[in-house]
């Protein structure tokens, strides 16, 4: 495998994909092994870092995606006119963490933990593509359950849910 040429093909693939690409799909399309695919991604990642490129590789779980380098965010924001901060409110973060740690979880379980109805915040998180429906519970009312998305992993820089910060029980003193 002539590595350099292959990283360029990978680059073309990542650019032309509107969604994250799995290593498996990359391997299949380029007709290489899974571990070759991983090596290529690593190589391209290094290349972008070395070049302080305008874009960089975001990898999470078994997928990769190309995105802009945060270093140049000010310019990109100016271009997209995205001046408004899209940060999550404290309450949204609370709901998001509860969902992240306790998924799949129902609305009423979230409400039970927070002591307050959180539907609006759940919808907000769904709009931000951080949370999605995960099916229904096989019990009375067949309530919907919710969980986090791949985009959540990417945006919070987690390779998988296992990377979530440990909940420290001892630290919870008043």
């Amino acid at each position: 495998m002539k590595v350099t040429q292959y990283t360029k093909i990978l680059e073309a693939l990542l650019f032309s994909s509107s969604e994250p690409l799995s290593y498996k799909k990359i391997a299949q399309i380029m007709d290489i092994t899974l571990s070759d695919a991983k090596n290529l991604v690593a190589e391209l990642k290094d290349f972008y870092t070395r070049e302080e490129s305008g874009v960089m590789i975001y990898d999470f779980k078994d997928k990769v995606q190309i995105g802009t380098n945060p270093k140049y965010v000010d310019y990109v924001k100016k271009l997209l006119n995205a001046s408004k901060s899209r940060g999550l409110s404290e309450s949204a973060l609370e709901v998001l963490s509860i969902i992240a740690y306790k998924q799949p979880i129902t609305k009423s379980e979230i409400e039970y933990i927070r002591g307050i109805n959180s539907d609006r915040l759940i919808y907000q998180l769904m709009d931000r593509l951080l949370v999605e429906e995960k099916g229904r519970l096989e019990k009375v009312g067949r309530p919907k359950t919710y969980g986090t998305t791949d985009i959540f992993l990417r945006n919070f820089n987690l390779k998988s849910l296992k990377d979530l910060p440990q909940i420290l029980y001892d630290e919870i003193e008043a």
């Binding site: 032309s16 945060p70 940060g87 002591g115 307050i116 109805n117 919070f156 820089n157 029980y169 003193e173």
Partner: protein, 246 residues
Amino acid sequence: MAMTIKIAEFEGPFDLLLKLIEGEEMDIYNIQIHQITRDYIATINAMQLFDMNLAGEFLVMASILLEIKSKMLLPDHQYEAIAFEDSEDPRYELITKLVEYKRFKAVSQEVARRQISEDLVFTDRGQVFLDPALFRKDYETMSYDIDVLTRAFNRIIQNLKRFDADKLDFFKNIRRERFTTENKVRMIRDLFKEHHRVVFQSLFEGTLILEEFITVFLAVLEVVRTDGIRVVQDRPFAEIHLIKEG
């Protein structure tokens, strides 16, 4: 305890309770229920709760506190800090829930720190630019799953549902278009194959709903424009006739 508090400062009753406990520097496992109930009720009294649902949620907590307080007034009980599995203590349930809540509150700060703030990264390019010239042949033969389309459509509707009832109206009567101007134009033209004069009113016979009515009307305008048909009314309120010359 004089506090000026805006509802927005609290994420909910648990949050308020935790802040009061911290404010009084109490041990969460040994809440002085007396004191805290008084603080809590004073605070929600001071809050201007206009949202009845929200007010309800804060009041439920107040009643829970009062209930615990009354249980603890029963004689022959000396309450110390609660221990694990100390489910006899009237405070047990509340405190375990509070601890659980506090845990998530703490961890959510930690999760927040990990966020590569999504506004720092742009990945949805809206489109993938592929030189159309190179792909034309492929585009002609490509096959898509219909569900990508319906899913996209449902997503739009779900989003509108949450935010915009007005726009939702736009979708309310999605149905195959039963009445098209083209069809009605054809109908009118067919009429003029046999007649050279048609009563305007008669075009609407059998018209059931507004949509069809409008379609017929548009078709009339169209034939007037394209087929040189004249519209004639002899005097005010008289019948209107469509006349095709020659």
